[in-house]
Structure formats: structure tokens, C-alpha cells
């Protein structure tokens, strides 16, 4: 159990290493955001809706059946209203938006946890989202171990927890917001397990 927990923690560490250095391979969909098709016009519109859905093709044509930000165009307000009820009935919730804040960054972001299949992708998404801030903080290069920041979250009860401790599904159903804080501040949380 401890080994598993440890691997979760490792997965969620933010790193500044260059791509390819101990970092997992990034799939075509960076961080779960919709990919910009390059010059392939056909990629904009797949005219075969009968494609098998639910497959995430890593490294294949970008516009696969992965979720796209803001589509269908339903306001978050409405989506969130149904979320809790769908969870009760067991049906798929259509969106799970949580705020993400980073210590030192002046602006909040909101992400949809449903876009990610697990901690690895979440970590990558946060990595790319906050890269411009952590770059200013240090000049870490490839090969350094240890990380500058830890990802934490606030759960339903208001407690601050380290991301990666619990199974992914449990995390998405209890996470209320995410906070990226300096690793030194988060040290206290690890000992809570």
C-alpha cells in the first residue's frame, strides 16, 4: 500500500526537467485540452460519427473522442447543478470544474477534472498551465531530483490533502479545489497518512 501511495506522490510532483527526462511521454492531447489540429483540415471535422467512442488515442490524430473544452456549450452553472444528482444515480457527470490556485500566481484557473483519466494527466495539465510561473522561481535543469512544488487539494470536509493519496475516482468525487503550494509547506501533510 505504501509503495502504491509513494508512486502516486511521485506522479504528482511538478518537475522542471526537459521533456523526456524522467517525465512520462506526453500524449497527443496535452493535459487533456483539445489539441489544435495543425494543417489537417479534415481533422477539424470527422465526418464519421460512428467511430468507436471512448478511446483516447495517444499520439494519433488529435481530434479523437476526447472531451473538448466548453463543448457542448452548456454553462458551468447548469452542469454543476446536475453533477451531484448524477453521482447519486451513478450516471456519468458531465463536468467537474474545480478552481486551481498556485501560491505566488496572481490568477486562478478552473479545470475540468473529468477531462483526465488519472493523476498522471492531471499533473501534466497543471505542469503546462503553471509552467510560466515556476520557471521564474528556479533554474532547475534536467537531472535534478526533488521538486519545487506539491499539489494539494481541499476535500468535501474542508481538509487539505496531498493529491495522489487516494484512488482517482475517490479523488474526483471529493476534490473541491486544488492548490499548488511550495513543497516545504506541504511536508506536514505527508505525515498525516
Amino acid at each position: 500500500m505504501e509503495a502504491v501511495a509513494a508512486s502516486y506522490v511521485k506522479d504528482t510532483e511538478l518537475r522542471l526537467g526537459l521533456p523526456g527526462s524522467e517525465a512520462p511521454e506526453k500524449p497527443a492531447m496535452r493535459g487533456g485540452k483539445r489539441a489544435l489540429p495543425e494543417d489537417d483540415e479534415a481533422a477539424f471535422c470527422k465526418s464519421s460519427p460512428e467511430d468507436a467512442s471512448g478511446l483516447r488515442s495517444v499520439g494519433a490524430a488529435p481530434v479523437a473522442k476526447a472531451q473538448v473544452v466548453g463543448w457542448p456549450p452548456i454553462r458551468t452553472y447548469r452542469k454543476n447543478n446536475f453533477q451531484a444528482r448524477k453521482a447519486e444515480t451513478g450516471a456519468d457527470a458531465s463536468g467537474l470544474f474545480v478552481k486551481v490556485s498556485m501560491d505566488g500566481a496572481p490568477y486562478l484557473r478552473k479545470i475540468d477534472l473529468k477531462l483526465y483519466q488519472g493523476y498522471k494527466e492531471l499533473k501534466e495539465a497543471l505542469d503546462s498551465m503553471f509552467k510560466s510561473f515556476s520557471q521564474g522561481e528556479s533554474s532547475r535543469k534536467e537531472g535534478c531530483n526533488g521538486s519545487e512544488y506539491a499539489i494539494t487539494y481541499e476535500d468535501k470536509d474542508g481538509d487539505l490533502m496531498l493529491v495522489g493519496d487516494v484512488p482517482w475516482e475517490m479523488f474526483t468525487s471529493s476534490c473541491k479545489r486544488l492548490r499548488i503550494m511550495k513543497a516545504s509547506e506541504a511536508r506536514g501533510l505527508e505525515s498525516k497518512q
Binding site: C45, Q67, V68, F82, S94
Partner: protein, 632 residues
């Protein structure tokens, strides 16, 4: 209900900034009243410069007379037209305009608006572009209310009403509002964020003359659980409330205080509570306020074993509804318990507006209700009722004017419960339909064509086929012909949203026939720049254009240079724009603000433009742009 009415009237600033083919207006002076663009620019400039100098005596008399006449003008369009006649009328109109509508908060600075309209009593302000509702605009982009309230506080002592849409309003802003305007009576916030219950508490406490507090679909956030008991803050003396809507406030309210407030507010006509109000509590509120005309029912759910109260009998609730003889508008039903739905039967025949769009009901559950709603004009519902449910609507609601069918499962791969046959049924049963928003997965050109023929009065047609780029489900063809028929047959159409598999052809249709179209929403559509060229060159009334994920590039964008000053905004995201093209637009049109919006980690100097948002402005680029926005 949520008002998504994107203004039909001209903006305040449009009349000042007319198309200038020569690319810039000189100070023409002249008050000939002609429609030529240069003289309009010049007259406005001259008018502004001279507005502070008092006119000679006889002119002053004339101006006073005009003021008295212009006071009767209500509509923005009329006022805008009157202000263009000559400097004297411009001044007189500015002195008598009571409601100032600003469709884009960055089109004009607070100082300029306040300087011109010195006697305003009401402000309507819209901020973020609509695609912000779908998370396409990063938080922190802007549209803050702070500079506006700070500027108005000293300038508008008689301010009575503020209506904001898609703006960021802080608790401090609300506090300043509450303290600065002793006559303040009406606050409406739609799709705003940045405030919490502490801000509401200040409003409740300090606005002694408050009549309307409508909070509609706002993101009400309370930091660190600092939830304030805002309902209790309404002083005993406040008894003139006419409307209270707080469905979007997610925390429980002090029910005793709410009940007391309702009891003493004899003028209360509209009450929309949040889902923390149980059905028992709702009944008590209704009994205290039988004069209500509009009711948002909250959860419509009983709390099992609630504080010793026995389970509510449907018949009892029904008799309460029977006593509410004035009810014409019902909404809420946030956690509907189906057994209680029949309680609303007594009011169905009087209902003009019914919003069941948060209620997961089937066709069978809907039918007994809808069969009695003969007077319904507006109906919002979830697609769980299916085509069968829509058939029932078509059979009973002959006067239906607005229909919105929302998806229960808002994802691309969902089954979709309503389809082309539901659309056809509605078109056949409701010929007076003027506005429709329809989410589905299955659609055909034939169905859309049928609607275009059966409902010629359509003003708003928004069809969202949720699976991206889906063709006609039967023929496999693009959906061009269907939407083409809409623009051809519905001559009054001003707002259009397209979806499904679409080629350049549909935009050619829109350009050729959609001459009245003012708002156009495009997603995952078109093949080439021709599409964009068609629309920008062919639609003279186009004011709001929002496009996402479509293969339109610089050539298409540049074809709109002659028209951008006539528009409120253009939004283009995930298209094929480059910074070269956007810079060219910015260079050609000095009064246009061209924003390139990036994600944080993205270098804004790259060639590809991820998100473009451009809009006209009298006061140049804004100073509050965050780091992820670059203004060209």
C-alpha cells in the same frame, strides 16, 4: 428565467463610431444631420468639446424645450437617433437619458460615459464575451465592476438601478454600491462572479429602499467558509421588496428570517429561492405571499423527518397553489420529487412561463402538467421528456413563443433523447414560435426545413447538435440546406447558432439571405476562408460574431475590416489566425482593440493566434489587461 437576450438595440457607442471608409474621421463640425460618416465623427467630437460651454440664451431656452420633449423617449435606438440631429439635441438628450446601456464595458471608459450622461439613474453593463460561459476565457481576464462603481459613486448620487452581466463584482464593490447611493433600489446580477454572501449582506443591510435583488446564475463563492447570514440583514424597516431571486446562492439561508422578510414585503411579486429551501418551507412562503406572480420553487423536495413536520401531502400543497391565483411564472424544481408535481395543476392554466429545465422528468410525468398549460408562451425543459414529451407540448401549447430544450447529459457521446422528429412536432404544433434553443444528437435537414416553413416568425434559431460535425442522420449530407432554409424563410431572424457538419455553403446562404442577422455563433464548421468572407461581406447587420474551432484564417478576417466598427465584438478561438493578420487589422483600425488571449504557459509572441477578441472602443486599449492578454 435567465435572460440571454443579447441586446437588440444599438449600443451607446455605435452612433459615435460609424463606418469610416477613409479610415479615420476628421473634425468635420457641421450639424447638417446627414448620415455621412465623417460628419458624424466630427459632430460628436465637436459636440463633446463644446458640451461644457453654455450656449447663448435663446439656444438655452430651445434646449430646455427639447429636453422636456426628449424625456419621453424611452428606447435606446430612438435616443441614439435623436442625439445625432445636432449639438443641441445631443446635449439635451444626454441630460435626459435615464438608463445608460453599455453592451461592452471596454468600449467606453467610465469617465466618458459619466461625463456625457450626467443625469443617469440606471446602468446596464455587460462584460465578458459569451464564450466565457463555456470556460473559453481564462479567469482574471477582466470586466471588473470596480472602476465603474468608483467613478459613479461621486457622480451619480441619484443612482437607482444597476444591471450587470458577465462582470466581476467584488464584495467591496457591493459595499461601495450600498454606501454611495441612498436611492438605490434595483440590483440585478447575471452570470457574474467575484462576490459572496458578505457582499449580499451589505446590500441587504444598507440599501434601505431596495426593491429588486435578482441574482441569476452567478458564481457565488464564499472563501474559507465565511458564509454570511445575509437574509437576516434586511432591516425590519425594509418592507418594499418586489423581487428577490437567489437560486444561485449555494448555501442555506436562515429560513425564519426569509419568512419574516416575505411576510412584511407586501409588494413582493417575484420570489425565487435556492435549492436549500424544502418543499415544506416553500409552502409556508407561498402561504405568506399569495400575491406572488413569479415563483422559483427551490428544491421541490421534502427533507425526510424534517424537524417534526409530517410528510407533506400533495393535496395540501395543491391547495396552496390553488390559493396563488396570480402565479403566471414557475421555475425551480431543482431536486423535484415527482409525486409533488401534480400540486401545480391549479396554476397551469394561468401559466405564461414554465421552467422545468432542472427537473429530470419523463414524457409521462410531463403530460398531465403540459396538457393544462394552454397559455404557455415560454417553456424550458430537459431532453429527458424525449420526442414524445415534445409531441405533447406541441399538442397543448399553441401560443408557444420560446422553447429551450437542454440536455440532461451534456456530452458529445451521449445518447440524446430528443431528435429531428421532436423538432418537427414542435414546428407543426407551435406556429407562433419565435425563439428556440435545441440540444440534440440526431438531426436532419428535412426537420430543420420543416421548422423554417412552419415557423416563419422565428427571431432566434439556435440548434446544437452535440456530436461534433454530425451530418444529416438520414442522408449523411452536411446540414447546410437546413440552416439555409432557416435564413431563407425566416425573414425576421436576428440570432443564429449553427452546428453539425457544415461546409462553406451554409455561410453563403447566410450571407445571401440572413440580412437581419445580428448575432451568429459558429463552432466546428466551414472549410475555407470563404465562409468568413461571405458573412463579413454579406451580413450588414452583424454585430456579434463568435467562432470556435473552424478553419478560418487571416484572409477571412481581413475581409471584415470595412465592418468591424459596426460590430460589438468578434471572437475567434482555435481557428487558423496568425499574428500577422491580426496585427494588420489592428493597424488598419485604430479604434479597434485587438486582443490576443493565451493560456498561461503559451508564448504570446508565437505566430499562431489561439484566441482573438476584438471590439471597438472609444478609449483605446484597456489598462487592466492581465499578462495572458496581448493587445496588438
Amino acid at each position: 428565467m435567465t435572460e440571454d437576450g443579447d441586446g437588440e438595440e444599438k449600443d451607446e457607442e455605435k452612433q459615435k463610431l460609424s463606418p469610416t471608409r477613409s479610415g479615420g474621421g476628421g473634425v468635420g463640425g457641421g450639424s447638417s444631420g446627414s448620415a455621412s460618416s465623417l460628419s458624424k465623427m466630427g459632430r460628436v467630437r465637436g459636440g463633446e468639446e463644446r458640451a461644457d460651454q453654455p450656449p447663448p440664451f435663446s439656444d438655452q431656452v430651445l434646449e430646455n424645450v427639447i429636453e422636456n420633449v426628449l424625456e419621453f423617449l424611452e428606447y435606446r435606438r430612438d435616443r441614439n437617433a435623436a442625439s445625432l440631429v445636432c449639438r443641441s439635441w445631443y446635449r439635451a438628450e444626454a441630460q435626459t437619458r435615464r438608463e445608460v446601456f453599455i453592451g461592452n464595458c471596454y468600449a467606453v471608459s467610465p469617465a466618458r460615459a459619466i461625463t456625457r450622461f450626467r443625469a443617469a439613474r440606471a446602468l446596464v453593463l455587460k462584460g465578458r464575451p459569451r464564450f466565457a460561459d463555456f470556460n473559453l476565457v481564462p479567469p482574471g481576464w477582466g470586466a471588473r465592476f470596480s472602476p465603474w462603481v468608483a467613478a459613479m459613486a461621486p457622480a451619480y448620487p441619484w443612482l437607482e438601478r444597476v444591471c450587470l452581466k458577465r462582470m466581476t463584482v467584488s464584495d467591496a464593490d457591493l459595499a461601495l454600491l450600498a454606501r454611495s447611493f441612498p436611492s438605490f433600489r434595483d440590483l440585478t446580477l447575471i452570470c457574474c462572479d467575484g462576490f459572496g454572501t458578505p457582499g449580499l449582506a451589505t446590500i441587504a443591510e444598507l440599501c434601505r429602499n431596495l426593491r429588486v435583488l435578482d441574482l441569476i446564475e452567478n458564481d457565488v463563492e464564499d472563501e474559507d467558509e465565511q458564509v454570511a447570514d445575509w437574509i437576516s440583514k434586511f432591516p425590519e424597516a425594509t418592507a418594499c421588496l418586489e423581487s428577490l431571486s437567489f437560486e444561485c446562492v449555494n448555501c442555506p439561508v436562515n429560513f425564519a428570517a426569509l419568512e419574516a422578510l416575505v411576510v412584511r414585503s407586501r409588494s413582493l411579486r417575484r420570489l425565487r429561492v435556492n435549492q436549500h429551501v424544502s418543499i415544506h418551507q416553500l409552502r409556508r412562503l407561498m402561504e405568506r405571499a399569495p400575491q406572488l406572480t413569479q415563483l422559483g420553487t427551490g428544491s421541490f423536495h421534502s427533507v425526510p423527518g424534517a424537524a417534526g413536520a409530517p410528510d407533506l401531502d400533495v393535496a395540501d400543497l395543491e391547495s396552496t397553489y390553488a390559493a396563488s391565483k396570480s402565479l403566471v411564472c414557475l421555475s425551480g424544481f431543482r431536486m423535484l420529487e415527482h409525486e409533488y408535481l401534480p400540486a401545480i395543476f391549479p396554476v397551469c392554466a394561468n401559466l405564461v412561463s414554465l421552467n422545468l429545465s432542472y427537473a429530470m422528468i419523463t414524457a409521462e410525468q410531463l403530460k398531465p402538467v403540459i396538457f393544462q398549460c394552454h397559455n404557455l408562451h415560454t417553456f424550458w425543459v430537459l431532453d429527458t421528456i424525449g420526442d414524445d414529451g415534445l409531441q405533447a407540448v406541441a399538442k397543448s401549447c399553441k401560443n408557444l413563443s420560446e422553447l429551450r430544450v437542454f440536455p440532461f447529459d451534456a456530452s458529445e457521446d451521449s445518447e440524446g433523447s430528443v431528435s429531428d422528429s421532436g423538432l418537427v412536432a414542435i414546428s407543426e404544433g407551435c406556429p407562433k414560435l419565435r425563439s428556440i434553443l435545441y440540444f440534440c444528437q440526431r438531426m436532419t435537414n428535412a426537420a430543420v426545413m420543416a421548422m423554417s416553413k412552419n415557423c416563419p416568425d422565428l427571431v432566434v434559431f439556435r440548434l446544437c447538435i452535440m456530436g461534433r460535425c454530425r451530418p444529416d442522420q438520414i442522408t449523411g449530407e452536411p446540414m447546410d440546406e437546413g440552416f439555409g432554409a432557416i435564413v431563407m424563410n425566416c425573414k425576421k431572424l436576428t440570432r443564429l447558432a449553427v452546428s453539425g457538419l457544415l461546409t462553406d455553403r451554409v455561410f453563403e446562404y447566410i450571407a445571401n439571405h440572413g440580412k437581419s442577422v445580428r448575432t451568429l455563433s459558429v463552432a466546428f464548421a466551414g472549410n475555407t476562408d470563404l465562409s468568413l468572407k461571405y458573412i463579413l461581406e454579406g451580413c450588414p447587420n452583424l454585430q456579434k460574431l463568435e467562432i470556435r474551432d473552424s478553419p478560418f484564417g487571416d484572409a477571412g478576417l481581413l475581409s471584415g475590416i470595412h465592418h468591424f466598427y459596426n460590430m460589438r465584438f468578434v471572437w475567434m478561438s482555435a481557428c487558423k489566425l496568425s499574428s500577422a493578420g491580426c496585427k494588420e487589422v489592428a493597424r488598419s483600425l485604430p479604434h479597434l482593440v485587438v486582443e490576443v488571449i493565451g493560456e498561461w504557459s503559451q508564448d504570446l509572441d508565437t505566430d499562431a493566434v489561439e484566441k482573438l477578441y476584438l471590439y471597438r472602443s472609444l478609449d483605446g486599449p484597456r489598462e487592466d489587461a492581465p499578462p495572458f492578454v496581448k493587445i496588438l
